[in-house]
Structure formats: structure tokens, C-alpha cells
Amino acid sequence: MHETILSILPYGINGLALGLNVAIVALALALIWRTVGMLDFGIGAVYLASAYTLWLAKSAGLPLVVGMAVAIAAGVFFSVLNYLVVYRFFIKRNAPLFVLVVVSLSLFVATENFVAAILSAERFYIIDSILLGWTLLGTRLNVAQIAKMAISLITLGAIAMFCLHSRAGLAILAVADNPRLAQGMGIELDRAYIRTFAIAGFIVSLAAIPDVAESGVDPYVAATPLFLALAAIIIGGLGAFKNPVRGAVMLGLAFHLAVWAFASRWQEVIAYSFVMAALIIRPQGLFGGVSTPTRP
């Protein structure tokens, strides 16, 4: 028994780390879904913008901290730009959800290929050695993983604080709950959407920076976190912002514990069977709230 617990611990720790990493992007997806009512695959493009900005800043000889700040600014800028230049046109015309999904997915794929075309598909590294790390319960966690876990939990808390204790946050919540009523109360939808995309861009940048520091950047690095985040919000549901985080942690644990329990070739079978089982048991997400938000 004692041996079993010891053998499962490294998988549990790494699963938790993966889950909390996925949770950051899931939070951004959830925020846009709840407020704007669209699944924004375009945050993959924002992730790339932030990741490549960090790499360019580092290549230009800027200190890493400065590079991170510029990368966050780039993430916010491109997220808002996506809304203003692309999505707003469709949202104003009340485009159905699937149109917005196709548009945002196209934006993401086009960005991936644009980056590959102008910069190459080569992977570039920001930190070119083993990252500082510590051994914990039979495995080694590096500083990027620990940062991602901390960012995930802090972001969750910060979103709650922002939404409940600031005028801008309250306006976003009002729009998320009932956009027509919010409009009637004098809240400008467009401004609320811009703020939502800005916050989502900020969150996605926080996910991209430690990821890129740990594994480097190429045009395709955003796809896996994006699609895992999508699975996480489906599992967790969107009733509250903590639900995608719970879903992401469960997904991360499923990915790692599947390898502990079975041969690793079953990893994806087990993990995605878990997604299906979760939806069969609770189609609205394990913790509730997957439903299409209304738009005026």
C-alpha cells in the first residue's frame, strides 16, 4: 500500500502541474465565453504573439523581465486587436456561434502559418539549459512549472477580486449575466467586450511566458494548451470561474494517472474517455454551467 502511494505521487504531482498550466488558458477561454458568448480559438494567436514577442525581446538583448513585460503588453494588444478588427464585425451582425468558432479558428490557423512563413517553423529557446528546480515527492518540478501553478491560482483569485470589487469587473459580470439588461443600465457592451479581451490577452500571456521559457517557441506551440483548455472548460463547466480550473486539474491528473495505471499508449484514450464520461454524467459540465450565453 505504502509503495503504491509512493509510486503514484510523481504522476499526481506532474498531473496537477499540467492541469494548473492548462487552467490558465481555460480561464481566458471561460472569460470570453461567459461575457462575449463565443469560443475564441483566436487566443491561440494571442499566445503566439506573446511567445514570439518574448523571444524577439530576448534576441534583441533586453533583460528577461523587460521582455516579459513587453510580451504581456503584446498579448493584451493582439487580443483587443482581434476583437476590434475581426470579431466585432461578426458580433455586431449577430453571427451565430458556429460562424464565430470558424472565424476564430481560421484566425488561429492563419496566424500559425503566417508565423511559419515569415520566421520559419524552427523552435527557438529562451532559456537554453535545464531550469532551476526542486525534487518534490519523487519528481522534480522546475521553476516554470511552479510559476505556472502559482499563476493559475493567483489569476483565479485576481479575476474574482476584479469582477466583484471593481466597476469594470462588475460591468463585465453584468454583461455576462444579461447583456440586454446591462445595456439598459447604461453599460456599454463594446467597452465591456474590449476590457474582456484585454484581460483574456493578459491571462494568455501569463500562460505563454513560462511555457516558452520552459520549452521554447515555434509556430505550433499554442495548439496543445488551447485544445486542452477547451476540454477543461467542457469538463468543468462554466457556472463559475473556478470550474474550468477544476476541470483542467482533473484533465491533467487523468493524463498522468492513465500512464501510471496503464501502458502510456492508452493515455489519450483514458483521458478523452474521461471527458466523454463526464459529459454523459453531467452534460452541463461536472460543476455546471455549459450553456450558450445570450447576446443582445
Binding site: Y125, L131, N142, G216, Y220
Partner: protein, 376 residues
């Protein structure tokens, strides 16, 4: 502009977009090269294209092949998707009139083998699956098959790391990775090196920590990375080192990309078997291979061999068709390009030089070239 003319122009523009490039003119000779948007393949797809482009620019600048201009046609195979590849290949054959193509992906080549024969196209492949050439009479390996890669790796291990008695395999969980795993188990086993762990991963894994934790529990002296390439090989090396694995990493052509040259942690206890682009190669190819990886040489060889075959056929007064090129290639048997010496066998298999590389100072370092005699 009148409305009618506007719509006519728009229709023409759409048609031009839909058909990509116009059909080759009658005096042109067209070759197709697969291109991909998937994370692993996109990297060596670019290298293949660059290499072929160099060979074709050289030839066209010198007046073409017996006065005929040579053109390259890209064929998009998406995420190494056999169905997408079939559509692109058919379009390239029927619209662009290609006579030869270069593609990869064990599934892509196996599933489209019958179509290649039906259309009479000479196909070269850099896919390493041993069964590919059984599905098509007109397909010829340009790369070594999986068995050779494992054989070369174990030979190097025996020579340089005789202390290795056990090994593990981290493989991509589809036909090609499974084949490489099994072939390496057999080839290493012949030398008494036992496979003690084998863990699979999806094409784009979120991380490899779980797989590597499990491999490390078996305490292998070395780990063979049977991944597709792209970021996965780099990710595997980094993960292994992060988790404290100090043994030897080895891989096949998947390691022959700049992602790996740039990887500091690959500078110790790592080697890969890949394509040699010697200093005697044309300067443009040698320089381009530094930037895009060893598959530049394969792209160059493909175009060079195709143009040589076309030239021979024209001189003999025969039409330049895929079937005629395949017959000529196998009749010649041995071909020396400006880079490599190939022996093309009747069954579609090929004996070609391979090389062992390590990484040093942000560049690949050639350790040894293995010629056809050694490989036999």
C-alpha cells in the same frame, strides 16, 4: 468596370486561387514535393523544398533539362493525412502534370501506393516504413528504412558506449513509431541489448513527464526516441534531463533539424543517425543544410536524380513519364549525385549513406559517415 466584367474577373481570380499554379506548359517538366502544416513535418518539409529548389535553380539557370524548364509543385498533405495527400497528389498529377513526387508519412505512402501506380508517377519517399514499397511498384525509398536506423544506432552504441546493456524506447503512438520500436528491439536484441521499457505518446503531447517517469523506473542505460520530429525530440531530451536522466539519448532523422542543433542539453550524451551533407556538396546545399537541417540534401538529391533521369530519357527519345523514369532508375541501379551515392534496388528499397551526428556549440557535428559497404 461593368458588372459582367467584374464578375468575370472575380471568377478568373477564384479559379486561379482554386488551382494554385497553372498547369505546366508542354515544354516544362514538373516535380511535386509534399508540404505540411503539422508541427513535426513542416520543419523537414521546408528543408526538402529548399534542397530541391537549389537543384532546380541550378539546372534552369543552365538552360533547363535539354532545353525544358523544370518546375516544382507543392502538395499540401495537412497533418500528414493520407486523404488530404491523395487530393493534393491527384491535383498535382492531373492539373500540374507532375511526373515524379517526393513525399513522406508511412500512412500517407502506404495508403496512396496503389494510386501512384495507377497514375504512373515515380514516387520517392523519405518515410522509413518497411512496408511502403510493397504497396507500390513505382515507389522508391530515398531514405533508409527503420531497420537501418536501428542498426546504425546500435552499431554506434557498441562502438562508443559498450557499457550500454539495456535501453528504452519513447515512440509516437502510430504505425511508424510502433515499427521503429519493434525494429530497434530486434536489432538491439541481436547485440544483447535488451529493451526494458517502451512508452508511447500522441503526435503533439502536452508533456512527456509521465512517459519519462515510467521509462526511468526501468533504469535503461540508453533511450531511443522514435518520434516524428518537430518539437517532440527536443521535448523528450529536455524532459529526461529535467527529471534527472543521465543516460544516452539517440534518435533517427527526426533529430536532424535546427530545433535540436539549438538545444544546449543535447550537447551531452546524445546522437542521431541522419543524412550526411558532406563539405564536398554544392556550397548552397551545404550552407542551407546548416540552417534547415539534413533533409535539404534529400530534397536536392530528389530533384537532381529526377532531372538526370529526364535528361537520359530525352536523349534516348523516350517520353518523360514516371514509369519510364522508374525503369531507367532501376536499370542504372547505382547513382552518384553531387552529395550521395545511392543504390536503388528493384524492390523499391535503397541503400544510401548515413551518418552519425552529435551536437556541439549550437551546431550538428558529423561523427562518422557510413557508406553502403558498411551498411550492407
Amino acid at each position: 468596370m461593368s458588372k459582367r466584367r467584374y464578375w468575370a474577373s472575380a471568377a478568373l481570380a477564384v479559379a486561379a486561387l482554386a488551382f494554385g499554379q497553372p498547369a505546366s506548359a508542354a515544354d516544362e517538366i514538373a516535380f511535386g514535393i509534399c508540404q505540411s502544416t503539422s508541427s513535426g513535418s513542416a520543419k523537414f518539409a521546408t528543408a526538402l523544398w529548399k534542397g530541391a529548389e537549389i537543384a532546380i535553380h541550378e539546372a534552369n539557370a543552365a538552360g533547363g533539362v535539354e532545353g525544358r524548364k523544370v518546375v516544382l509543385v507543392p502538395m499540401d498533405i495537412g497533418n500528414t493525412d493520407p486523404a488530404q495527400a491523395r487530393l493534393s497528389m491527384r491535383k498535382a498529377i492531373q492539373v500540374n502534370k507532375i511526373v515524379s513526387l517526393l513525399c513522406w508519412g508511412t500512412n500517407v505512402m502506404v495508403q496512396n501506393g496503389p494510386m501512384i501506380d495507377e497514375e504512373g508517377i515515380l514516387a520517392f519517399t523519405t518515410a522509413q516504413g518497411v512496408n511502403i514499397t510493397k504497396k507500390s511498384k513505382l515507389t522508391q525509398q530515398l531514405d533508409a528504412v527503420t531497420t537501418f536506423y536501428c542498426r546504425v544506432a546500435v552499431a554506434w552504441i557498441r562502438q562508443r558506449h559498450p557499457e550500454v546493456k539495456t535501453f528504452g524506447v519513447l515512440y509516437v503512438n502510430y504505425e511508424y513509431g510502433l515499427e521503429l520500436r519493434d525494429m530497434c528491439e530486434a536489432e538491439f536484441g541481436k547485440h544483447g541489448i535488451k529493451m526494458v521499457a517502451a512508452e508511447g505518446h500522441p503526435n503533439a503531447p502536452p508533456d512527456l513527464r509521465a512517459q519519462f517517469t515510467k521509462i526511468m523506473q526501468a533504469k535503461p542505460d540508453a533511450v531511443f526516441l522514435a518520434s516524428i520530429g518537430g518539437g517532440t525530440v527536443a521535448q523528450a531530451i529536455r524532459t529526461g534531463r529535467e527529471l534527472g536522466y543521465e543516460g544516452i539519448f539517440m534518435t533517427h532523422g527526426a533529430g536532424d533539424i535546427p530545433d535540436i542543433y539549438n538545444l544546449k542539453v543535447a550537447e551531452k550524451n546524445f546522437f542521431y543517425a541522419g543524412h550526411a551533407v558532406p563539405e564536398t556538396a554544392p556550397k548552397a546545399v551545404f550552407e542551407s543544410a546548416k540552417e534547415y537541417g539534413g533533409f535539404v540534401g534529400a530534397g536536392y538529391d530528389f530533384a537532381w536524380i529526377d532531372m538526370m533521369l529526364a535528361r537520359e530519357l530525352i536523349k534516348e527519345g523516350k517520353p518523360v513519364t514516371g514509369a519510364n523514369m522508374a525503369a531507367k532508375l532501376r536499370a542504372l541501379g547505382t547513382v552518384q549525385t553531387p552529395i550521395n551515392k545511392f543504390t536503388f534496388l528493384e524492390d523499391g528499397k535503397t541503400i544510401r549513406p548515413m551518418a552519425i551526428f552529435t551536437i556541439a556549440n549550437g551546431e550538428k557535428k558529423l561523427e562518422k559517415i557510413l557508406g553502403d559497404e558498411e551498411l550492407k
